[in-house]
């Protein structure tokens, strides 16, 4: 991707408007991207960020408004025409071909050829080169379906950068990345900026935004509130612009002393776990983290009946616990919110109502018939509690903004009031205000004597919520951190040090 520094691009979006069946997602938004600049786009869940990006990428057509590149008006009928203009987009929801390898995904659509055949050697070599250039430690021959979500994100980035790119757009790229992975991405972005790319960057992690962006634009309810050069504004101001009010971010509150231990796991082993011991007490929030494949994902799956363990004992509330199906775990008061919300969480064909109540349908029914009124009441209660921005309970769940989809999944299990809640990346893609609300809700869970297993790559969240953090490495507990020793730095250090 050689860039001519004289070829600085200027992409102007003028008065973009778009509605979806009555919902006005964008109301006349202007935005200007410049070569050699990182431009951050901030706003609450449902503010219209992804819609704007989809217009820029030719995925969605605007109802009105125009796009110009270097003063020349352009019209994108489809994603291909945006790509032809050198605009590469990494969408919020990943779009890789699961059964293909990393190298195949990177080459997709532009495979190196040897006559009519694909030159597999060249393909592997090229993939290796591109991954090395970005500093991503991925195996080009690994099947994408077997990768952890953070690794898939890296494949997506490498794929987007393979073409001749002048404008790079990233919709919440770090939501699934660990701190170290995110730092590596930033180094890559700074390098690309130096090469003259125009970069548009969407994130709910405002510290990141302030660390990397040259200019910040805030959207609220589909309108632009304003744009500022980063040095001329502050984090607090941006939050206030996004939300319309100041958000008071609570420090870690004092917790009640933990109750009696409820979950005992001893020497649990499986595909990645190599003998892990864990105790969780009532009212305790235990954090689990580690690099991809360290074993924390597998532990969650075993506890929720989604994977079988090879060895070890687990007792839950004094009785042996060996769920073979999620429903068995659910019956004993265990719930899990999966990390991969698109693939393993949402039912794309259904609406907010069905998605939110699917785990509670049996409780809401008599003789197998669902009580429709109670069901809608339940959904409405949780929509209010988590401030889900939806046009109604019947809105198709995929048409919700990313953060609101996540809220629906949280509500699905929260509504059952579980005793052990396994939260995988609970605030991925969620805006500051709701993130704060969810953190307070976890505090409430702990206060009410519920146990929480928190799996998060967001170290700040870990420090804010966990009473104890287990850092896993190669299937074992490498380090146990408790406040005050539980700091972001300590977590990151424990994850990587050998």
């Amino acid at each position: 991707m050689p860039q001519d520094p004289h070829e600085l691009r200027r992409v102007s979006l003028n008065g973009l408007t778009r509605s979806f069946s009555g919902v006005r997602a964008l109301k006349g938004v202007d935005l200007e991207l410049r070569g050699g600049e990182i431009h951050a786009l901030c706003g609450e869940n449902g503010a219209g960020k992804s819609t704007l990006i989809q217009i820029l990428g030719g995925v969605v057509r605007p109802d009105s408004g125009s796009i110009a590149i270097d003063g020349r008006p352009v019209r994108f009928a489809n994603p291909a025409s945006a790509i032809a203009e050198g605009i590469a987009i990494i969408h919020q929801e990943l779009s890789l071909v699961d059964p293909f390898t990393v190298a195949e995904n990177l080459a997709l659509g532009a495979e190196p050829r040897f006559g009519p055949w694909i030159d597999r050697r060249a393909m592997a070599r090229e993939a290796r080169r591109r991954l090395d250039e970005l500093g991503f430690a991925l195996d080009p021959d690994a099947h994408v379906g077997t990768l952890a979500i953070g690794q898939r994100q890296q494949v997506e980035i490498a794929k987007a950068l393979g073409r001749d790119v002048r404008v790079l757009v990233l919709d919440e790229p770090t939501a699934a990345l660990s701190r170290a992975e995110a730092e590596r991405l930033f180094a890559v972005l700074r390098d690309l900026r130096a090469r003259g790319l125009a970069i548009l960057y969407v994130s709910h992690h405002l510290e990141e935004v302030f660390a990397i962006a040259d200019r910040i634009t805030v959207l609220r309810d589909g309108s632009r509130v304003g744009s500022w050069p980063t040095p001329e504004t502050t984090l607090g101001e941006v939050v206030a612009h996004m939300v319309g009010e100041a958000v008071d971010v609570r420090e870690r509150p004092p917790r009640k002393p933990a109750g009696e231990p409820l979950l005992h796991a001893t020497r649990v082993a499986g595909k990645t776990l190599r003998g892990l011991d864990l105790t969780v007490a009532a009212g305790e929030v235990v954090g689990l983290t580690g690099l991809a494949g360290a074993g924390h994902e597998e532990l969650a799956a075993i506890l929720f009946g989604d994977a079988s363990r090879a060895a070890g004992e687990i007792a839950w509330k004094g009785r042996p616990f060996r769920p073979r199906h999620p429903v068995e775990a659910a019956r004993r008061g265990v719930a899990m919110v999966p990390a991969d919300r698109r693939g393993r969480g949402l039912i794309p064909t259904q609406g907010v109502l069905e998605n939110m109540t699917i785990a509670s349908d049996r409780d809401l029914s008599r003789w197998g018939w669902i009580d429709g009124r109670r069901r809608r009441e339940l959904a409405r209660t949780w929509c209010e509690k988590f401030e889900v921005a939806a046009s109604g309970l019947s809105q198709r769940v995929l048409t919700l903004s990313g953060g609101n989809q996540q809220k629906v999944l949280l509500a699905r299990w929260a509504a059952r009031n579980p005793e052990l809640f396994i939260l995988n990346e609970p605030t991925r893609g969620i805006d500051v205000k709701t993130r704060e609300a969810i953190h307070r809700w976890v505090d409430e869970l702990a206060d009410a004597g519920r146990s929480v297993l928190l799996i998060t790559s967001d170290t700040q969240e870990m420090v804010r919520l966990a009473d104890r953090c287990l850092v896993l490495r190669e299937g074992r507990v490498a380090k146990v951190l408790e406040p005050p020793a539980l700091t972001e730095h300590a977590v990151v250090a424990a994850m990587v040090e050998g």
Binding site: G345, P348, Q350, I358, D361, W369, T399
Partner: protein, 315 residues
């Protein structure tokens, strides 16, 4: 694209369905008579019941090609039993039980063994058809009279309402209620929408998928009863191609072959529309051969309308 056009487009299949029905009804005077309408209902009833069973499978993300052959095998079994002197109610129970069991075999392979639904039901299509031959020894059983009582009806005013049509409507309504209002039905939609997510939300997906196929079998058992009450003959080549008619009815009625979407009432309406179309073609004096041609055309038009309607969706 302007907004009003977009919302019209997203309802294209339903609009076509209603427009099609109106055009057919208003085309000829004779058509819009209680007599013609009830005869359409009666003629549609057998494939209609099959289509209702098929809807459960399709909505759950599966596919059942074995319905026609299953009907033949069930009819052969019941024919044998009636020869052996079984009573009407006993034969009805037997038909339902045989259908349910044959459907459960499909379900077992698709959900427990995890064979592909297409391949599974294609094989059982051949197996059931062959078994029907063997059971009948190649010789048709005629004059099966056990279901005579079903082949009647009652009079309202000057219109004769046959039971077959009523059974079809009642089953459609019951199936619609089950799918829309019961835990089972809602979970079938979830299963077809995203099976993995449904499992993680506490749905017993293996069991549920088996049930959708078993219900298709049960519907086929019921269709067998209607079929025998009407023709009273059981032959090895009975009901050849009925599975395609039932899938066609579902497609016209807006049930998604990708799973997770559609309504039984749509499938029932689709079945009625296709039958009305056939009746119309016959009544207009076109030769038989046109029926197949036009039916195929109509299915393609509806599939295209459905694809257009989905084009503007996210995801």
């Amino acid at each position: 694209m302007p907004r009003p056009l977009r919302s019209v487009l997203s309802r294209l299949p339903q609009i076509l369905l209603i427009a099609g029905a109106l055009v057919l009804m208003l085309r000829t005077e004779r058509f819009f008579t209680p007599g013609t309408l009830t005869s359409i209902l009666t003629q549609a009833s057998i494939v209609g019941v099959l289509a209702i069973g098929q809807s459960f499978v399709l909505i759950g993300g599966g596919f059942d090609l074995s319905q026609g052959a299953m009907l033949a095998l069930t009819a052969a079994t019941v024919g044998r039993l009636s020869e052996a002197g079984w009573s009407g109610p006993a034969c009805i129970a037997a038909a339902l039980a045989v259908g349910l069991a044959l459907g459960a075999i499909n379900g077992f392979f698709v959900s427990v063994v995890r064979t592909n639904p297409f391949v599974t039901t294609l094989s059982t299509l051949l197996i059931f058809r062959g078994a029907a031959f063997i059971a009948l020894g190649g010789r048709p059983i005629s004059n099966i009279r056990v279901f005579q009582a079903v082949d009647s009806g009652f009079q309202i005013g000057s219109t004769y309402i046959p039971y077959r049509g009523l059974v079809f409507l009642a089953v459609a309504l019951a199936a619609w209620l089950v799918l829309r209002r019961s835990v089972f039905g809602q979970h079938v939609y979830a299963l077809g929408g995203n099976a993995d997510a449904a499992r993680l939300a506490g749905v017993r997906t293996v069991r549920l998928r088996t049930w959708t196929f078993a219900l298709s079998g049960l519907a086929t058992g019921l269709a067998t009863v209607l079929f025998l009450s009407w023709l009273r003959v059981s032959k090895p080549d009975t009901a050849v191609g009925y599975e395609f008619d039932s899938i066609a009815a579902c497609v016209v009625g807006g049930v998604s072959l990708q799973g997770g979407r559609g309504s039984v009432l749509g499938a029932a309406a689709g079945c009625l529309l296709l039958q009305a179309l056939r009746t119309q073609i016959t009544m207009s004096g076109f030769p038989e051969e046109y029926r197949t041609f036009v039916t195929g055309l109509v299915i393609l038009i509806f599939a295209a309308a459905d694809a257009l309607a989905r084009r503007n969706e996210r995801g």
